[in-house]
């Protein structure tokens, strides 16, 4: 684990050698970085193929949506399974009932948990009623949709979709029609993210690696492009995420490098976290993107927090936003990891991978198995060791 021991941080704080903010940041990083597989909680395997997208609803932090290559969407109630050993999905869109191809992205309507949107390689972006799992409306983009997002501010009902076409298209849920088109690179968009503070600020990433910031009120063009002339990620942008304060942008590239950008200072790279793995193709199947998750204690000052970035191999990196250090590599999947979702308020991380599992991670202290299973954790050496069979 790359996080500093808590005792050392506390001692430094007592000495006065660490500022309060820094100590707090280090502690938060330590807590979020030291995650372990939750032994008392398990999500049922509902997908039969890779899980490409996860979403925890922002309203309650209770419902988890997962979607993947099997074209199904599963809805888990994370609190229903507090006693059960395995959480079964409470609702689902069965494979074939909705999208006809890979569901590349799923997201909750930011205001409440009554709606969610999915984007798929079948060229559509669909809006679903979460209560009935029935389709409410549909946007046809006529090419593979890689990513879609709605503004977390809830100020408007625009859903931005990044597809293989050369445009980011904004669909309005209130009218059911596209409202706006933002021209990006012809390589097609792979990632899109809304600013959490300003309802009109949008960031987009392309398969060619360009990273642009938009104000959707300005018709003329983008605000600026990150990377000072060069592409932000030469291998292409995989994931895009704003920090909670809206002043930093986290992007991950197909080379497993993660970069932090200042939204206000587009030309300088804040932090570059290069890939520490041997060159591994980030592309899994046709879905060439990964979802990032960001974890920050609510009310923390800017810069505190941890980004969880699927590495493309079986691990998920936990990266301290402030220092850019890789705190930990969470190794739980048996196939490339594709997405991550942070459950705020519960300090739980959900990761999905190509092995069709959704793993639950929580702080190491809480990861102990339930009481009835603790009996399995003890050694059972026999006194004589004479019998070979267990």
């Amino acid at each position: 684990m790359g996080s500093e021991p808590v005792a050392r941080i506390v001692r430094a704080r007592a000495d006065g050698s660490a500022q309060a903010a820094r100590a707090r940041r280090l502690l938060a990083a330590g807590a979020f970085g030291a995650l372990a597989l939750a032994e008392s909680k398990r999500l049922a395997r509902a997908h039969t193929a890779a899980v490409h997208s996860l979403a925890v609803d922002a309203a309650h932090g209770r419902f988890l949506l997962s979607a993947g290559a099997d074209t199904s969407v599963q809805l888990y109630d994370l609190e229903a399974g507090s006693s059960a050993r395995q959480i079964e999905p409470v609702q689902r869109i069965p494979a074939g009932a909705g999208h006809s191809r890979i569901v590349s992205s799923v997201a909750w309507y930011p205001v409440d948990s009554g709606l969610f949107t999915t984007a798929s390689f079948d060229g559509t972006l669909r809006v679903w009623d979460a209560a009935t799992m029935a389709e409410a409306c549909q946007f046809d983009l006529e090419c593979r949709v890689h990513c879609q997002a709605m503004s977390p501010t809830g100020a408007h009902a625009l859903v931005a979709a990044a597809s293989e076409s050369a445009h980011i298209r904004l669909g309005d849920l209130r009218t059911g029609a596209f409202a706006q088109t933002l021209p990006i690179h012809r390589s097609g968009g792979t990632a899109v993210a809304w600013s959490p503070v300003s309802p009109y600020i949008l960031a987009s990433g392309t398969a060619a690696g360009g990273l642009k910031l938009w104000d959707i009120r300005q018709a003329g063009g983008h605000l600026h492009a990150f990377g000072d002339g060069a592409d932000a990620h030469p291998a292409g942008v995989c994931g895009l995420l704003f920090a909670a304060d809206g002043r930093r942008l986290v992007s991950s590239g197909a080379d497993a490098g993660v970069r932090f950008w200042g939204v206000d200072a587009p030309h300088s790279l804040l932090t570059d976290v290069p890939s520490d793995r041997e060159s591994m193709s980030r592309r899994y199947g046709a879905a060439g993107r990964c979802e990032l998750a960001i974890a920050a204690a609510p009310g923390d000052e800017a810069g505190a927090g941890v980004v969880f970035c699927p590495n493309g191999d079986t691990t998920v990196s936990a990266i301290d936003i402030a220092s850019g250090r890789r705190l930990a590599a969470l190794d739980g999947h048996f196939a490339p990891t594709l997405c991550a979702a942070w459950r705020p308020g519960h300090a739980e991380l959900y990761t999905g991978g190509a092995d069709s599992n959704v793993l639950v991670w929580c702080a190491s202290a809480r990861a102990a198995p339930s009481e009835d299973a603790t009996g399995l954790l003890v050694d059972t050496w026999s006194e004589s060791e004479s019998d070979g069979a267990p």
């Binding site: 597989l37 939750a38 032994e39 398990r42 395997r45 039969t48 050993r85 079986t314 190794d331 739980g332 999947h333 048996f334 196939a335 190509a354 092995d355 069709s356 599992n357 793993l359 198995p369 339930s370 009835d372 299973a373 603790t374 399995l376 954790l377 003890v378 050694d379 059972t380 050496w381 026999s382 060791e385 004479s386 070979g388 267990p390």
Partner: protein, 643 residues
Amino acid sequence: MLTPAELVEELTTAGGDAPDTQQLRALKALCRDDHSGCALQAAFGALLAALGKRHAQVRVAALQVVHELFCRSHGFRALVVGQLSQLFKLAFGAYGARLPPPVQHATRLQRLAAEYYYAWVERYGTAYQRLVYGFRYLRFVELVDFKDAVRAYRHNAPERVRRRQQTHADNRRECMRRLLVAVRADIAAMRQQIVASLDALERCFAILMPDIADMFGGHASEDPPKERAGGDEGDDSNDWGDSDDDLDAVLAVMAANRQAIEVSIDPDRVLETEETASNAAVFDAIRDQVQLFAQMYRPRIDTWLAKLARVDPDVDPEAQQLLESVRGLRDRMDVAWAKCRDLGVGALPLRRRQDAGASDEDDDFEDVPDTHDHGPVPVRPLLPKTSGKPAKRNAVFSLLGEPVIAGDPTYVDPSVLRTSRAGPARTQHTANSTPQGELSAVEERLRESAPVVSYGPDLLYWGQTEISANTTGLEVRHRFLGSARDEPVLSDAARRGLQMRAVFLPEPARGPIKACRAPLKDGRLCPRRDLAKCPFHGPIVPRDEQGRPAHGPAPPESADAAATAAADDAPPRVSSVATAETPADLQWQDLEDLVSKKHGAPARRRPGPAAKPKRPRSTLDSTRKPAASGADRLRQITSRRRK
């Protein structure tokens, strides 16, 4: 002494189907005795290395050793779980890795790996979630065939099931043994009492009822009333039952003639034994015993039977024996019960209540049976004495007691029969009861001297060394008395608590609190009622009617002023000098005035009316001129300015 790595090396390269048990044991002992985990770590590293060898047989051996250690050590499991993907690659050929030759060992490796892994998931999956995730990966992504593994696991399942059932059976047996011990102790404690009661009942029956042998043995017997029908009364006119010969003769006659005898017996009234003053004591005794049986012994015995029936006979061979003896006891009790019913001593309180209501109204409300009494409950004779009232109408023989029947030659008055037969029995009874009478006399004396306390749970449980729960209405799991789940007896502490009586001593009666009665300025006496000390007038002392302290002189001037003040508003009192009839009635206070007058001194306590202010004094002196207030001064100033 070999290091773990060397041991693993030897184990995996030895060849053969299974690893060498000696070396395996040595390796396990090494890992077990090394608490730092270094040996485990080293063994795991060596095993991973062996699993990575390009020879399937080595991998098989290594996998077997891994399985052995996996089933033993949590530390090793943690290590394996951390390196599951590596294991998958090397043992299953996952992630596109190919298993090394030779082929037959490679297939065996795959089969064994699936088998072991399935067993791990089944057994440890709840504690090591990653095993489950890995299983999902192998099963659904790598498409490893686990069918054989499942079959093998199921094949071994009977063994596991047998072991589980064994422990279950052991637990059950232990539980039964405890139950049996408890029941046996209970039976041992109660059995004597029950047998004694049964014996007493049977002695009472012997007094009241003829034996069957007696009935046909030549004695004048009181037989069940038979309604004879079919015109055989004429043949049967001789007084039968006088002697054997007579009986024989009667039988011969009856055999010679074809007769139809119809006998109808009312099951409620088989015997015609009326309760009379002479045998009332016997009936009382029977009633006592029946009460005891109905309310105490019978439920107890039923409980025993229910418990003993649950005990398997193979737990304890004596259980069956015990069960038989309890059944015998119950049968005996049933017989006695039936006899009691025939006697009309209804054991059921309901029936007795009806009888009582029919016979005597004021017997109602009298004998509510006390459910948990151990001693014999005193039961008042419920049937009226036959002397005063006419005999009840008999249901079977309706003419019984009618004057007509007395003239019938075939009728023998049962009372005559009884008196003639009960001679020896009576003496026996008296012989029996004499010590009882003495005892009761002693008891009476003791009773008189004994303190009378009200009935309560402490008396109910008096002298018991153990109180069984759930037979007398106590719950097995009681809120305050605790749980009695292991053995259905209350704990010692709870028992002591039950046998203790809380006596609430009455608060000592406190009389009315006396007033301070110190004279106040306005002439009244201080009305404050304090226990020891008045906050204004000091300690409470006895004072006379004027408020002067009765003992010890008060400070003169204050006492004087107080007395003056007190006298002002005191009610006009009549001097005792005027009313006194004897010198003893004179009060010195009254004499004091006279004496002082006589000596020319001014009357101390009766100043002249001029000095007497008429209005009641108050704390606020309204006559005093108010001090010039700020407002007045302001007015003065303004007026001065105007000037």
